[in-house]
């Protein structure tokens, strides 16, 4: 347990000291969302209908940007090998790395999304559902993204490859995330899409670490 906390602390401080990386993702998210009113026109009604989709799609795309550095730096400086060779279960180590990734990208995106949704004129009743769908959905993006990051480690054009591999797999998150917000704005119960998101989250917490760990072992071997 202490080791895992140490890994989390190490990764967090690495991200904090580099600083710019996590910040860039957030800026990209804000800029992408800002592009939509300019692209589809400032009509408040159109923006209101599109708001949930715009916020979710932009969140997905910005998360993709941050994924290639998830294991790359550890791979470059050799600490990945030590993590794989260490006696601690690699699955748990990997889960910690995903947690750090979420804390530094998913969480900021989730926290800033209501402000952007407000600028897109989203209905006030939808805020709670926006936050809760983001809270359930962004960790799944980190977990699936880590699968992609582990798979493309050491390949050419790894950044583009991650997006190509992971975006198709994240489509269910997008569907249920947007469905929850839409249901809330149209007055239906948002509980079933949220439950689906929760199920997906549990499913990926249970399975993704194994996939990530096995591909990292293949990388090191």
């Amino acid at each position: 347990m202490g080791t895992l906390l140490a890994i989390i602390r190490r990764d967090l401080s690495l991200v904090m000291r580099q600083g710019s990386d996590a910040f860039v993702v957030l800026i990209f998210f804000v800029v992408t969302v800002t592009l939509f009113p300019l692209g589809v026109g400032p009509d408040p009604l159109i923006l209101q209908n599109l708001a949930s989709g715009i916020v979710w799609v932009s969140a997905l795309l910005s998360a993709m940007l941050s994924l290639d550095r998830l294991f790359q730096t550890d791979y470059d400086d050799g600490s990945l090998e030590l993590l794989v060779l260490s006696p601690y279960p690699l699955e748990l180590v990997v889960l910690c790395k995903c947690l750090v990734h979420w804390l530094t990208t998913g969480l900021p995106i989730m926290l800033i999304s209501p402000v952007l949704a407000l600028m897109l004129n989203i209905k006030t009743g939808a805020f709670l559902y926006l936050i809760s769908s983001m809270a359930l959905g962004t960790p799944i993006i980190s977990l699936l993204g880590a699968v992609g990051a582990a798979l493309v480690l050491g390949s050419r054009r790894s950044g583009v490859l991650i997006a190509l591999l992971i975006i198709p797999l994240t489509i269910p998150i997008l569907l249920f995330g947007v469905a929850a917000i839409q249901a809330a704005t149209e007055g239906y119960s948002a509980s079933s899409p949220l439950m689906f998101l929760g199920a997906l989250l549990l499913f990926s917490i249970a399975l993704c670490p194994w996939v990530i760990a096995s591909s990292l072992r293949q990388v090191v071997s």
């Binding site: 798979l151 050491g154 390949s155 591999l165 797999l169």
Partner: protein, 236 residues
């Protein structure tokens, strides 16, 4: 099974099979086209466009079947490290992508007159589109490494991860209320389709499967020969 993982033995078995499967594929597809175009009735509701189904449905079956083959081959490659399993997964991917593309395109051609739209974002169509992206992603990943051995291992893991999509595609028409109609052949009771229409459909399915086997053998053979050429070049 392990006995057949030997490339030389595979070549000895596959070589004589190849002419039979390729001629069989040609015959079955031609027969299916004859029955489908000339010797089957037009549907009372869909009219002549029902004939598109004789290509669309078998292609969609093959899209799922090929991915399943890929996932099984990738799994056995990861577990037993059979080089032949990896070769067959890699050889199957472009064929599967081709069948998926055929299913998507024929579906759109059928959807335009029948549903009045080329494309709807329902669960079946979207999940098949994802399958198409998975095939493309797999091929990009396998070829994305300078070290081809590593590419095959990573591709194998991806193929297994992507397999979650296959049951979703199969059951999407039952789980969600889709515009795409539910299964009419693989049901517990008798197929909900007239024998005159079932004949071209099944013939086409058999033809596609034989075609798949033939192309698979040819592609594996090419890869084996390439490997042999490389090892000869290395020794000289």
């Amino acid at each position: 099974m392990h006995r057949f993982a030997n490339p030389a033995r595979f070549m000895r078995i596959a070589e004589p099979i190849l002419p039979w499967t390729s001629m069989g594929a040609l015959a079955a597809i031609l027969l299916a086209l004859y029955f489908g175009i000339f010797d089957s009735p037009a549907d009372y509701q869909q009219g002549e466009t029902v004939r598109i189904m004789y290509v669309h449905v078998p292609a969609a079956w093959m899209a799922l079947f090929t991915y399943t083959v890929m996932a099984l081959a990738s799994g056995s490659f990861l577990i037993w490290k059979h080089p032949l399993a990896d070769l067959s997964a890699q050889a199957a991917a472009p064929i599967g992508a081709g069948f998926t593309a055929i299913a998507l395109v024929t579906g759109a051609l059928w959807g335009q007159p029948m549903w009045g739209t080329w494309w709807v974002w329902d669960a079946r169509l979207t999940s098949v589109l994802i399958l198409f992206f998975l095939y493309l992603g797999y091929m990009a990943l396998v070829n994305g490494f300078d070290d081809s051995e590593r590419g095959s291992r990573m591709g194998a893991i991806l193929a297994l991860v992507g397999f979650v999509n296959v049951p979703i595609i199969k059951f999407s028409v039952d789980w969600w209320n889709t515009l795409h109609q539910p299964a009419s052949i693989s049901r517990l009771d008798a197929p909900a389709i007239d024998p005159s229409m079932l004949t071209p459909l099944l013939l086409m399915a058999i033809g596609f499967k034989l075609f798949f086997i033939s192309i698979l053998i040819v592609r594996i053979k090419i890869q084996l020969l390439k490997k042999r050429i490389r090892s000869i070049q290395l020794t000289n």
